[in-house]
Symmetry: C2
Subunit: 345 residues, 2 copies
DNA sequence: CTGAAAGCGCTTACAG
DNA sequence: CTGAAAGCGCTTACAG
């Protein structure tokens, strides 16, 4: 099964099978049909498995000018949400391509130009880029490999985005029905466009539901601890401003709001309601369970991978469909204090 | 900054700088000292940045027989714990190597032999393997690149492991002091040795603390939902058997126990105490906050990366130190029901 | 100090 | 159907 000796080359396989390197290459790459006799092809296949031959990636991609590598650029790896996206990408990519992830240094940091250059030097056959910052987008060479953006949109690039509309509307409907009128928003510092989209959509639709979003722009790194520190400062101000609910741009941010509320001695949802985006599995068992706009990460990943393989196959026809965000209502949202109805939702 | 034209080659740089390809290679690889005049080296560097030249990875690794690639094999990517490990690896690796992650299909699935072969074909200069299953270990060719295991140990391989001892002892001391006598254990299905180590350590030390671990072997996939389903079945049995506390092999498993307790109408910690391993950030805000044996993932990643670079530099002297597990005590553990002391810890 | 040349292990026209 | 040969873009002795 595994290499025994030094590295096995096509020449060794050819010698073992009593044929030429060209033939080995043809057989191994599945291009033997009608070009190599079944007898010889069989002999080659047997030698391949006997010797444990694996086509050298470097030599192969040098000769072809491209590899079977698809690289997923993942600035936001630490986000638990991302596991689903990766699983979806694997599912959508199938067996034909080899997926590798590239991720930058710090939490939420965006890959530097150098990282991108190093990835480009690998000659991936395609690139998948999750929630890129504008600067990452700039570093992506226009004559690089085909590329699909995930949860982002940019002129001239293929992209798969979420349809946030239904989820955001459901959240606003839910909050308005409970009796909330003023809501605060905790944004992420991540320079990804998806955060701007979420914020702007919420702000622009709020009015139609009789809701006001506080103008106060507050951001935190998308980790529980950073969000908690920020929210400890912001929560009292928000409440003073009349907010009775806080919406966070991601569940991990919302968790920080929960932690901050606990530190401040505020009860959720009795003193303030909290909601997030992502609907992470953990949101079922937070204290209290979190109302959240669920984003189907698996569907996003799969759609992006499918789009990429379609482009690579020269089959550009059908544009990808946006997976739809859906609200999961839980205990962290309830009627605002003083609304004369203390019952939890 | 970015490529403008087709792919830039060393030959183009050489032409632009009025020198040879050999000289370009020397300069670009930092081997110019005392072999290329400063004048020419400068000219080359200017051409490089002007043309946006990046050494082609395939050609370079084909010529050298190896690349600057370090691949981290990560069967357990979806675990939020893993973000810290990756950050630590990046920190320990420095700028000299390029880190890429390879991860298998399903949650907690182990990379198949084919994945390993594909990774090997990339000719990484080194391999980092996190919590491998025995079968993954088998697939790793003995004449492959230098390799360091993370949170695992295997004969003949370099490895960095956790020192679970202090954390496990602290957990047992804590539970015994609260008055618990019988505890149940929820293991992961992941075939990684680290889970066996945790289970066996807990079982072997329990007696010294006057504690008994139920013989019942219960396992679940390391996700909240799978663990919740399993725990819904197991919890009543455990309580019947006299257990007053459940220890889970990972926090995500413990979250499942919390979810199961909620479904069954059991109060944590009043009806049953719960504890986990990992001390994920989310464990601060679960209902209730989770007592957990913290595993320093960043330190693990960094130590493993340092070990790998030391081996690559032929500097094998100091073996890596095991990062130490430490207990974080929170509200999910309390005296057992009927102990005459209902106060939470 | 500098460059021509061989070779890394493949793939792909091109002859046969 | 099969194989010899060129070429992918580098790196590294080796001459000069």
């Amino acid at each position: 099964m595994s290499g025994n000796g030094r590295r096995v080359t096509a020449a060794m396989v050819a010698a073992h099978a009593g044929t030429s390197v060209s033939t080995v290459s043809l057989v191994v790459n599945g291009k033997a049909r009608g070009r190599v006799s079944e007898t010889i092809a069989d002999r080659v296949r047997r030698s391949v498995s006997e010797l444990g031959y694996v086509v050298d990636h470097a030599a192969s991609s040098l000769a072809r000018g491209r590899s079977d590598l698809v690289v997923l650029l993942a600035p936001d790896l630490p986000n638990p949400f991302f596991g689903d996206v990766v699983a979806g990408v694997r599912a959508g990519l199938g067996e034909r391509y080899h997926l590798m992830l590239s991720t930058p240094a710090g939490t939420g940091t965006q890959p530097a130009a150098e990282d991108v250059a190093r990835v480009a030097a690998l000659r991936p056959t395609g690139l998948l880029v999750h929630a890129p910052s504008p600067s990452l987008l700039d570093d992506l060479s226009p004559d690089g490999p085909p590329l699909v953006l995930l949860d982002a949109r940019a002129p001239g690039h293929d992209a798969v985005t979420f349809d946030f509309g239904p989820g955001v509307d459901a959240l606003l409907t839910h909050l308005a029905a409970l009796g909330h009128r003023r809501i605060a928003y905790l944004d992420g510092t991540t320079p990804s466009a998806t955060f701007a989209v979420r914020r702007e959509l919420l702000a622009s639709r709020a009015g139609a539901h009789g809701l006001t979003v506080l103008g106060d722009e507050v951001r935190a790194d998308v980790t529980l601890d950073a969000a908690a520190d920020t929210a400890v400062g912001a929560l009292p101000r928000w409440l003073d401003d009349g907010a009775t609910a806080v919406v966070a741009a991601a569940d991990t941010l919302a968790y920080g709001v929960l932690a901050a509320a606990a530190r401040l001695g505020l009860a959720v949802p009795d003193d303030v309601s909290v909601a997030g985006f992502d609907d992470l599995p953990y949101s079922q068992i937070t204290a209290p369970a979190l109302t959240s706009v669920g984003l189907p990460g698996h569907a996003l990943g799969r759609a992006a991978a499918r789009r990429l393989t379609a482009v690579l196959d020269g089959d550009d026809a059908a544009p990808p469909v946006s997976p739809i965000a859906r609200l999961a209502v839980r205990h962290s949202t309830a009627p605002p204090p003083g609304s004369g109805d203390g019952a939890a939702s």
